[in-house]
């Protein structure tokens, strides 16, 4: 009997021992299959470079989702201004309609998506900077990469501070548990954010190569891009001297020149050897392209603003962000920019309607088959003459977004010059811009430069924020028929959802 028991134990032990031995050392430690964990990702020797690339890819945030410089940012800025109306059919997309009419509230999801997109991008920049700082890359490479990340962070904070006013100042990658801490959820003042932006852009200006230098690549931020944005920041700060110096540095670098044909600036390919993507005038531009995933684009940027049909033809888009008649009338006679900025839909004429023939030969029908009267030509991407995704998906047209052009830099320089009593330089650079558009010379006063900014940068998301900077948003927009309230509408409301999630720590802007 005793033997039996020993046998029993032996037999019990065998399967259990077998079970234990059969299992590998870490039977319960199972890594995700075919998915990269953060830990694994950081073992990649190229991780730092890729992390900075990951920050660039936040420039693609778009569609109706969170965004940085994509579709909803475009709509909010252009529609709020006197440049554009909401467009599409009257009932379509009420959230954008609210902004058009200045009836927007803090519950409008567009604001939440702009807030979320920018902060998500900022956090990815912070993570990249953190990893770079801890890493052991060669100092110049490290500084260049950190410079690129800080350039983008500066650009994003610049958007945020102009759009919302002061926002939480976050320069680290916080843990989830810190989400509702006072430190993170208290809005910094606009001045504090501006200080951070200047610090970031200055670091970038100091550490990035010039366009065309060996260390530079098309699409990456350059010294010129950092200096241009810094000049623009100083313009908003009314630090005319700094704005002048920085824009002057960009001019004297000699790396940029105006594209002689304004039409060619917004094309994918050069026209008669000028213009196209990343042309001589391009200082910073969102790089898009055709790839298998069809995801190297800013979704809906082009299609969302494309001409919308009323049936009967295969239309080009959703028809949002339609240029106003006010913008069309803002151009002087003979200004070549008018027809390069606005697609005009021709009226239906009994018997013989020609419609509108676009630069690529595509013929839009006349008004009876088209929803709106005008569309944004600068967002147009040709189905026929320019690259298309394999699936031909209209929502993912590879349209580069021109974020900073040399023409704008010249106007920043001109305004800074005008404000530092350098009328000669102001007039010279203003007329450089005007003459490209077939316009007679003018005098470089601040008022003339402001007027020039509108027509030169029409439908490029500058007008509303520029009007606020100029301090005449209320006067201009009320004259345009908008319910703009001074002291309130200069900034947009902090998203209510974010205030709720901060347990009330985020304070709302006045008037909302």
């Amino acid at each position: 009997m005793k033997n039996n028991i020993i046998k029993t134990l032996a037999i019990t032990a065998i399967p259990i021992a077998g079970l234990l031995a059969g299992c590998s050392k870490n039977f319960l430690e199972v890594d995700p299959q075919g998915q990269t964990t953060e830990v694994l990702a950081l073992t990649d020797p190229d991780a730092a470079n890729k992390l900075v690339g990951g920050v660039y890819s936040t420039l693609y945030y778009g569609g109706f989702d969170k965004t940085t410089v994509g579709f909803l940012w475009v709509l909010a800025n252009d529609i709020a201004s006197d440049d554009a109306d909401k467009g599409s059919t009257p009932g379509d997309f009420g959230a954008a309609g609210e902004i058009d009419n200045f009836t927007h509230t803090s519950n409008n999801f567009i604001f939440n998506n702009i807030w979320s997109g920018h902060f998500s991008a900022i956090i990815s920049a912070n993570k990249a900077i953190d990893v770079l700082n801890k890493g052991s890359l060669e100092q110049s490479v490290k500084n260049r990469l950190i410079g690129e990340a800080r350039f983008l962070r500066g650009l994003y904070y610049f958007n945020l501070v102009r759009f919302f006013g002061g926002v939480p100042k976050i320069t680290t990658a916080p843990l989830a548990s810190e989400g509702s801490s006072d430190a993170l959820q208290t809005r910094a003042t606009a001045a504090e954010i501006y200080a951070l932006i200047i610090e970031d852009l200055q670091f970038a200006a100091d550490n990035l190569p010039l366009k065309g230098d060996a260390a530079s690549q098309v699409g990456r931020a350059t010294k010129g891009a950092a200096q241009s944005y810094l000049a623009k920041v100083y313009l908003y700060q009314k630090n005319w001297q700094k704005a002048f110096e920085l824009s002057q540095a960009v001019i004297t670098s000699g790396r940029y020149s105006l594209v002689p044909d304004y039409n060619a600036i917004f094309r994918e390919k050069p026209v008669n050897g000028v213009g196209g993507n990343n042309n001589s005038e391009s200082i910073f531009e969102v790089q898009t392209g055709v790839n298998l995933g069809e995801n190297a684009v800013s979704p809906l940027f082009s299609n969302g603003q494309g001409p919308r049909g009323r049936g009967g033809w295969n239309d080009l888009g959703f028809g949002f962000n339609t240029p106003t008649i006010d913008l069309a009338n803002a151009y002087e006679t003979g200004d070549t920019r008018r027809n390069a900025t606005i697609i005009f839909i021709n009226p239906t004429v009994a018997g013989n309607s020609t419609g509108t023939v676009l630069w690529d030969g595509f013929r839009l029908p006349s008004k009876d088959s088209v929803e709106n009267e005008r569309y944004n030509y600068k967002a147009y991407h040709s189905n026929i003459a320019e690259s298309a995704q394999v699936s031909n998906n209209k929502d993912t047209k590879p349209k580069n977004i021109r974020l900073m052009r040399y023409a704008e830099l010249l106007l920043i320089y001109a305004e800074a010059a005008a404000m530092t009593n350098n009328a000669g330089e102001a007039t010279a650079k203003l007329n450089l811009v005007r003459s490209r558009s077939n316009l007679p010379p003018s005098v470089g006063t601040q008022a003339n430069i402001w007027k020039e900014r509108r027509t030169e940068l029409g439908m490029e998301q500058d007008r509303f924020l520029d009007l606020v900077r100029q301090g005449r948003a209320g006067a201009v927009l009320r004259a345009h028929g908008k319910a703009f309230v001074d002291g309130k509408h200069e900034v947009f409301p902090i998203p209510q959802a974010q205030i709720d999630l901060s347990a009330g720590r985020l304070k709302q802007n006045p008037g909302y």
Binding site: I5, T8, L9, S120, Q185, G293
Partner: protein, 1011 residues
């Protein structure tokens, strides 16, 4: 190894196991003296031998069991007393005395109480249970012409809600005692012959001996880790020693839709939409007289549906000898469903063998293979057929009607013809068990189970044009077309192994009866899939390979998942004098799905039973034949979450273009909860079992209170944290399910020819979200352009409808003027302005109840007269709500409407109605679309006739029964849609009828033959 040892050391079970080992080592061993071999025969009623009866020497551990002839041999002393026990018989003690050849005649016991219940890693007699366990016999399950056994259990067990589907290949949705989770899986755990499974569509109901459903935490805690939703144990058939039994069963029948919704005909439709245009639109006719005259009058449901053929054949061979028992079966089921082009076929083969190597060592193999072939259909066709304009001709002279021109929906029959979405599955499930009994009271068992599941799906979309010479439409143009053929091929593979090792000691010490189980198990689950898609693949089926397609736009994918589990378990059953019962279990579970710091979960339970009817003070009463009180408490877990929820993943392969070249980049942005833990359910159960009137009436009543805490819930997090979707999943919420279950059974006979039985069961459950603890109230159930329709928030049942409440219909302009809807017109729905702010907006939504029924009930009965038999089953639910999604998703003003909407619509002449005026726009989400989901259905009615023996002899048949059966014969419900059973598996959006395969009705006949 390290982790196992660590686990052992950390685990309190370690103590249990070592105690058990010590217990084995030092157990006192009786000395034996003056003994001689004695033989005997154990018989039951009528002198039939009783196989596998246990014969032990009272007060010792010595014993043996009888063979197939009821014979046993045991060495005893004359002073010993033998205790003879056998399943289905009352225990008997026989003093040996001078006898050397004993004949022991056992009296049958109360059958139900002696029924052997599979309880997980062992069995128990029903009378010994302290938890809530329900059983259904295999013969009850296989009687119904349905695919899965769980479908057949509908209405038979109190507290088990089975939501069926008409889809031939559906796995019914099962909810045991309500919904206890929002984001982890809500389905019960299936255990087939001891092997854990999550899909039982490979199991042929004809192969099932019994299905046992563990409901309360005391019963389920032995399966701790995923027991929170209940456990369904399936035991398949084995051979028995004796004559070979060959049987054949066949069922053939026809399936059809149980109920159709009557849609408006062409003229009625035109009248309605034109009236709406006059009232709300331009006034122009939307459908002109000319259009009507040139069109048809199509009933689209007629076009997309069919009557499907159903057949099921099973053949089996069972038998055995002293050494080997075998069971071999093959089954073939085909079911065409009720939707055109739908088809399903399943072949199953099972071989269960037991090999008795020595008297105390047995090996069993339980092997099954199933092959299924399915052609799936797009259930969206149900919605499309609802919407498609009736004046469009479906198909004529080989050309299809163009519904995209009429109202922007695809022609559903063209869609059916031009898509071929087929799949083929091969599944092998097997289990090898070794069982060693070194001494009579100890059983060592090791079981290794594997489940290999391969599935290949091929989806082909035929190319077709809408213009030009190859135009397939009667009228060309618009947007239904496919200019390139497309092919998607996916091969997926699931592999699982489970290794269980248990030791069970069962011993009686005088009046004390003790069973102790201890075990260790490990499990590994892997899935992987690989596939790709191509366009421009030739339409010949022999060309449906990826290589036959164009390389332009080619896509390939390959992914996988793996998780592992390791557990220690133990159970103690104790009873004293068969009066007092105690069950204690504990299971320690570790799951790779949880982070190392929270990986181990400990799930204890305790249950007690008191058989009052065995007490002396009950001795004189004649009312109760059995009266037993049970109480239990237990804690169980749920790890039914995705594998890597706690691991922060990098976002990889993010493209950006530098120097015109695509570069793939990386972001670290995902926030995960690094301390994710088990969802834990605690349950108290109090129950009463009784039988009365000479066991004719028996019944069970249970009260339970289940509380799930640390339930996973999404938490919105501030955008400044940078998480991609600004939310993360953590343990926060608390839910409760409280309820009562009652089951009563009556069985009796009248004279010698009539027998009958009747069973009713009823369950009440109340589900509630007690606390979200900072979690987000989850909105779900999006319908068309209406947005979400449900919201799961504090104090409400999970998946509650959250809608505007319709107060009535505006009758006059004056009513409109004084209302919160200034833009409305007479005939429009008037919504309740809850906060009286004169605006109807999101703040006026109100909770309107949930899809979850609070009452489920069943009624089952049988009647036999001589060779005739009749059985029926019915099932019903009450208190659940259904959102009529098809009606609500009428998004285009040219969409068709139901006949009843047209007939009852508000007009100045028909003001006493609750149907609004003819309208153009999609109506907002409101109670107008919410209906009661209550129903009662006659699930099954079967009439059979068993042929007299004398007729069979010449065909050498043992038995022959012919039968006719009707499944889902009649449904009684006020719900206006296709089916009150919404099988979409959702916990948050369970009651929305959209793209649902409605329950079908089957009429069939068949034979059962035994050779």
């Amino acid at each position: 190894m390290n982790h196992f040892l660590k686990g052992l050391i950390q685990s309190s079970l370690k103590t249990t196991i070592s105690t058990f080992a010590v217990f084995l080592l030092f157990f006192p061993i009786s000395l034996m003296a003056r003994q001689a071999p004695v033989t005997g025969t154990v018989t039951g009623a009528g002198g039939t031998p009783v196989n596998a009866a246990s014969v032990t020497v009272k007060g010792t551990s010595r014993g043996t069991s009888t063979n197939a002839a009821g014979k046993f041999t045991i060495t005893v002393a004359p002073s010993d007393t033998l205790v003879v026990t056998a399943v289905g018989f009352q225990n008997l003690e026989v003093p040996v005395g001078t006898q050397t050849d004993l004949t022991v005649s056992l009296a049958a016991s109360n059958r139900e109480l002696e029924q052997v219940i599979v309880v997980g890693y062992g069995t128990q007699r029903r009378r010994d249970l302290t938890g809530s366990v329900a059983s259904v016999s295999g013969s009850e399950l296989s009687r119904q012409p349905v695919l899965t056994a769980t479908q057949a259990v509908q209405g038979k067990v109190a507290g088990v809600q089975v939501i069926s589907s008409g889809d031939p290949n559906a796995l019914p949705v099962i909810r045991i005692r309500g919904t206890g989770t929002m984001l982890a899986g809500a389905n019960p755990l299936y255990v087939v012959d001891g092997v854990i499974s999550d899909d039982i569509r490979n199991i042929n109901s004809a192969d099932i001996t019994s299905m046992d459903i563990l409901k309360d935490a005391s019963a389920t805690a032995i399966y701790g880790m995923r027991a929170a939703n209940g456990v369904i144990l399936i035991t398949t058939k084995r051979g028995r020693a004796g004559k070979m039994v060959v049987s054949y069963d066949a069922t053939l029948g026809v399936k059809e839709a149980t109920k159709l919704v009557n849609m408006a005909g062409a003229k009625q439709y035109a009248g309605y939409v034109n009236e709406a245009s006059v009232y709300y639109g331009s006034g122009d006719s939307i459908v002109t007289a000319a259009t009507l005259a040139s069109g048809g009058n199509t009933d689209w449901y007629n076009e997309i549906l069919k009557k499907g053929f159903f057949q099921n054949h099973n053949v089996s061979v069972a038998g055995g000898s002293d050494k080997v028992n075998y069971f071999l079966s093959a089954g073939y089921l085909s079911d065409e469903g009720i939707i055109r082009t739908n088809d399903f076929k399943r072949l199953t083969i099972r071989n269960n063998n037991d090999y008795k190597i020595t008297n105390n060592f047995k090996i069993s193999t339980l092997l099954s293979y199933s092959r299924s072939t399915v052609r799936n259909v797009d259930l969206g066709a149900f919605n499309v057929a609802y919407r498609a304009a009736p004046y469009v001709i479906a198909k004529q002279n080989g050309k299809y009607g163009n519904t995209s021109l009429s109202n922007n929906v695809g022609n559903p029959i063209l869609d059916q013809d031009k898509n071929d979405n087929s799949g083929k599955g091969d599944r092998f499930q097997g289990n090898v068990v070794g069982e060693y009994k070194p001494i009579t009271w100890l059983t060592l068992r090791s079981s290794f189970g594997v489940d290999k599941n391969n599935f290949r799906s091929i989806s082909y979309g035929y190319k077709y044009a809408n213009v030009g010479p190859d135009n397939v439409f009667l009228t060309s143009g618009s947007n239904q077309l496919r200019d390139k053929s497309s092919l998607t091929v996916t091969e997926s593979e699931g592999n699982r192994w489970v290794w269980d090792n248990t030791a069970t000691a069962a011993k009686r010490f005088g009046d004390h009866n003790l069973t102790l189980l201890a075990g260790i198990t490990a499990e590994d689950i892997r899935t992987r899939s690989i596939g790709g898609s191509r366009v421009d693949v030739p339409q010949d089926k022999d060309q449906w390979y990826l290589n036959a397609g164009s390389t332009i736009g080619a896509r390939n994918f390959n992914d996988g998942d793996r998780s592992t589990r390791n557990s220690y378990l133990s159970r103690l059953n104790y009873n004293y004098k068969d009066k007092y019962f105690l069950t204690g279990t504990i299971r320690a579970d570790a799951s790779s799905r949880l982070p190392a710091n929270n990986r181990w979960g400990y799930f204890p339970s305790v249950g007690a039973g008191w058989v009052l009817s065995n007490e002396g003070f009950m001795g004189d009463q004649k009312t109760f034949n059995n009266l037993k009180l049970r109480a239990s408490y237990g804690k169980v877990g749920n790890d039914g979450i995705p594998s890597n929820l706690f691991v922060p993943l990098a976002t990889v392969n993010l493209p950006y273009f530098f120097n015109g070249q695509e570069v793939l980049n990386l972001r670290l942005e995902e926030l995960a909860d690094p301390s994710l833990k088990w969802e834990v359910t605690r349950e108290v159960n109090v129950g009463l079992d009784f039988s009365l009137i000479k066991n004719r009436l028996s019944g069970t009543v249970d009260f339970y209170d289940r509380k799930t805490s640390d339930a996973l819930v999404r938490i919105n997090i501030p955008a400044i944290l940078g998480d991609p979707n600004n939310e993360y999943i953590t343990n926060a919420a608390t839910f409760t399910n409280k309820g009562v279950e009652v089951a009563l059974n009556w069985q009796d006979r009248i004279g010698s020819d009539w027998r009958y039985n009747l069973g009713v069961n009823l369950a009440y459950n109340r589900n509630r979200i007690e606390k979200l603890n900072g979690g987000q109230a989850l909105s779900s159930g999006s319908v068309g352009g209406q947005g979400f329709t449900t919201k799961s928030d504090n104090g409400q049942p999970i998946g509650s409808f959250f809608l505007w409440e319709v107060e009535g219909i505006f009758q006059t302009e004056a009513e409109v003027a004084s209302s919160a809807q200034p833009g409305a017109k007479p005939g429009d729905l008037r919504y309740r302005d809850i906060n009286k702010d004169k605006v109807i907006n999101a703040d006026d939504r109100v909770y309107q109840g949930s899809y979850q029924p609070n009452i489920t009930y069943g009624i089952n009965g049988g009647l036999s007269f001589k060779a005739l038999d009749l059985s029926f089953g019915g099932y019903g639910t009450g208190g659940g709500k259904i959102y009529n999604g098809k009606k609500a998703a009428r998004g285009d003003f040219r969409d068709n409407i139901e006949t009843s909407v047209v007939n009852n619509r508000w007009t100045p002449g028909n003001t006493n109605t609750n149907v609004p005026r003819a309208n153009l726009n999609e109506l907002p989400a409101s109670t107008y679309f919410l209906e009661k989901g209550d129903f009662f259905r006659i699930n099954n009615l079967t009439v059979g006739y068993t042929l007299p023996r004398r007729l069979l002899d010449k065909f050498s048949m043992q038995s022959l029964r012919v039968f006719a059966t009707a499944q889902n014969l009649a449904t009684f419900t006020s719900y206006s849609g296709f089916t009150p059973e919404i099988n979409n598996g959702g916990t948050l959006d369970g009651g929305i009828e959209l793209a649902i395969y409605p329950t079908t009705r089957t009429f069939a006949f068949g034979v059962n033959v035994g050779f």
